[in-house]
Symmetry: C4
Subunit: 232 residues, 4 copies
């Protein structure tokens, strides 16, 4: 994929966040990585989506230096870079402050597996990071946030859990590319809403989906024995 | 009705789920049955609605063999087939993961009759299945889910209760044809929302509609003495 | 106003319920009365809005006899007639199953005055009827529902309280004409939502607006000393 | 900025409230001040937005006398004037009855800082006024409401907290101009919703964002060391 194609993909993925009503104003950003050339394409900081075009996307190297484009990259760049460095199968990342997922973040709680809708897309509870310490915030804030996200994924397959909640902040999602990352943002928001409503109906005590159901629904869609799609 | 007409009906019913915002991505499927020729028409598996046309609908026989079309049928086909085999007055079936109805499913709770809006369309509490056992899930999963749905309807008129919740999964609705099945999905979602809000306002203890009101409202619309429509 | 003009007004008021998302399918009806000729114009029963035009509106006399039009009037006609007979300043009536207002109905609870948004439009708590008895339901059901609504308004100015909730059913609203009735349906739905959310935030114990605030806000908009509009 | 330009800005800001679904009917108003000539431009009272054009905006002096235009200013004018007189950096004010923010008002509760979405825009808890006394309501009601709002902001930078809740009523927001005021209304509504959902998920006991996080996120966007935007 050419850099030009990746810029278009990242631009369209950013717009999709707005169209899906997950983002207002400048509240979100999507990036993608070119693993061959180690370049990251990301939305520029502090500019509304309607004022951007594909060519405006910022291109940076793995140290965050601007390589192409005249606009500074998203202030959340270092979070994205940290994830790309540590989770090597990730090709695209999306960050939003979508309403229902952010509410779970604000409570500092992961989203348990309450149903097959969840299990169809995320293998297990969607984890929530710990709160950063004062020192971590005063230091390299964004990089440290990326670090504690990655700490949660040591030894895990990031493509089987393409979402994380950050305590007191908002969700990050990822996938094989920018489009997949945004799809995970859309699905996460829906799951966050369903989970909250389930909690309410159940009086705070919603039953977990049995593990064998999670296993069944996830493997029905992904992996060697999947049969959810027309072909693998 | 010709097979071509049924395919068109099923295709449009699938789109209606999207238009009514009950389905995103590939989260749902509608089917209809040709009772004369024992053929079932259903959405193909794992394809988004915007990429489909009426001719793409899969046609299968009662054993699930593909009779017409080049695309594999929905992975939920066996659930549909089981329902068609056991509930003979059913002509169309819809399955969604609509937000509010799925929240009730995740709690494993049926939706009680809290008002006449419910009684106008469903005669009694909308039942929720039990959770499947590990053995049932490891075996013929989809068929077993169909079976425990049908177990709930033994000796009942399925057209007087055109909806069921499946524990930890999502709702299935049906009716005399695909269009009626989708209408039941729309109405179920609205009832699920109203019931949840009622529970909240009532502090978890919402009064049930008296049985004589359910009787009145249902028979006002359906059966020998109905007077809700222009003609019977 | 000619009968033709009233039919147009009633037709448009019915459509407005759909446009404001208070009604799906056939769930609602609006009427208006010609007080000079004692004729009531109302939506026909059991027909979806998209299949109707202004000329299709049913015209009945005060005993419910069809005077003009080929379509039977709404099954809820007798409720409307009872209100027109007892509340003489009412010129138009709307009935919906709008989500949030219906949730309050299902709980059998009136909506307390929690804020000035409420006081700007309804003078005091929006009342909820009692549940009908088995005998009242088996007898003249719709007329009896109209009667218990009117019982709540004995000695009250119906234009100062243009809404009522019916237990286990849905809201009725009214005003000087069909358009005003529909505006009250829209506002009631918004108030029902605000009140429910307020209850939740306050942990079930939301403070009532002081009476002097209700008085102030209502009289700021209506009556001899009002100053809310450009002219009285 | 010419008066004509301010009128256009105020008109468009009023429309934006409708487009963002924060206002129905006449439920809201926006104003802006010309600090050079001490003139305030505000929406006329009791007229729906679709019936207005930019030239219809009312222009008043600091005592509320109509200086230009044929339409009386919003009944809430004195609240706006009081704020302009006391909070000198304010250039535009918006008032709505937006659903979720109004629910917090009705509870008489400020919105705590539960997350960075909040800290990105408002520095600290969004305060709620006390309820007015009977005497204050019977007297100069609107001016008194303006006064108790300003009491909360003595010694504070109003541009660091561009929103206030009024007990039993609705929110007011402000900023450097009318557009900024409306943006704060949009963001406040989103925060009010997130905060309410967080409260529910947390069972009424949502953790506050640590102060060092509020500090970090606010100063990342505003002030001498900010780096959120392309340039300062």
């Amino acid at each position: 994929m050419t850099l030009k194609a990746i810029k278009k993909e990242v631009y369209e993925a950013n717009l999709e966040l707005v169209n899906r009503k997950l983002v207002i104003y400048t509240w979100g950003n999507v990036s993608a990585i070119d693993r061959v050339n180690n370049l990251v394409v990301i939305k520029p900081r502090g500019i509304e989506y309607e004022d951007l075009c594909a060519e405006d996307m910022s291109v940076v190297d793995m140290e965050g230096n601007l390589v192409e484009g005249r606009l500074l990259p998203s202030v959340d760049l270092d979070i994205h870079l940290e994830i790309y460095k540590n989770l090597e199968s990730v090709g695209g990342i999306a960050h939003t402050h979508s309403t229902w997922a952010t509410a779970w973040c604000q409570c500092g709680r992961g989203i348990p597996v309450y149903g097959t809708t969840h299990a169809d897309h995320f293998y297990g509870e969607i984890p929530c990071t710990r709160q950063l310490t004062k020192e971590e915030v005063k230091g390299e804030y964004e990089r440290n946030l990326g670090r504690i996200i990655c700490d949660l994924f040591k030894g895990r397959d990031p493509l089987a859990m393409g979402a994380v909640l950050t305590a007191g902040h908002g969700p990050f999602t990822w996938g094989k590319d920018a489009k997949a990352a945004v799809e995970h943002s859309v699905i996460l928001e829906e799951l966050a809403k369903m989970a909250k409503l389930s909690l309410d109906i159940a009086g705070g005590n919603c039953p977990l989906l049995p593990d064998f159901m999670t296993e069944k629904h996830y493997t029905r869609k992904y992996g060697a024995n999947s049969y959810f799609y027309q072909s693998k």
